[in-house]
Amino acid sequence: SQTIHQWPATLVQPVGSPLSLECTVEGTSNPNLYWYRQAAGRGLQLLFYSVGIGQISSEVPQNLSASRPQDRQFILSSKKLLLSDSGFYLCAWRPSGRYNEQFFGPGTRLTVL
């Protein structure tokens, strides 16, 4: 069966520090991968998605970047965090093709102070 791992679960970082959040998927190949951010009590904002190794689509201009160095690995990064980067970050994967659901990781709560 497929599983998705996301770490760390919580993170407190000072403004201006770098960020690296990692997401890995097991039990599937060539998944579509996604990074979302969720503000408190709000909906999900799609940040990046990838349909293959090295292929990254950015949905909103921001202080973050994403990379997919391996088929089942998706990394969210920042060189210098801003206060506005605080939020709940969710990684998800989806089989390629039509009529497929997404499977979400447990999320990372990021607080930038």
Binding site: Y34, L46, L90, G107
Partner: protein, 110 residues
């Protein structure tokens, strides 16, 4: 931008009652999906309805889709305290990505 907008934003009902949530969207879609999120957790897929379907059932869940009105509804029958969560609709227009709505926060009062 958010494609889907859920209505109401928050809903509180007594245990045993039915809960209905609505979702409106703006563009043509291939399918629409509903997800559930417990506080501080990831989302869990509930049900998917294709654009050529009008109604779908899964256990206590009933989803309808009206593509002419660009709207969908999620009905949870005989609600339980464990149904307390946020519910999101998500539209799929491209087969690559989903666009999520703003969510309905459902509270079931025991």
């Amino acid at each position: 931008s958010q494609q889907g907008e859920e209505d109401p934003q928050a809903l509180s009902i007594q245990e045993g009652e039915n809960a209905t949530m609505n979702c409106s969207y703006k563009t043509s879609i291939n399918n629409l999906q509903w997800y559930r999120q417990n506080s501080g957790r990831g989302l869990v897929h509930l049900i998917l309805i294709r654009s050529n379907e009008r109604e779908k059932h899964s256990g206590r869940l009933r989803v309808t889709l009206d593509t002419s009105k660009k709207s969908s509804s999620l009905l949870i029958t005989a609600s339980r305290a464990a149904d307390t969560a946020s519910y999101f609709c998500a539209t799929d227009a491209s087969n690559e990505k989903l666009t999520f709505g703003t969510g309905t926060r459902l509270t079931i009062i025991p």
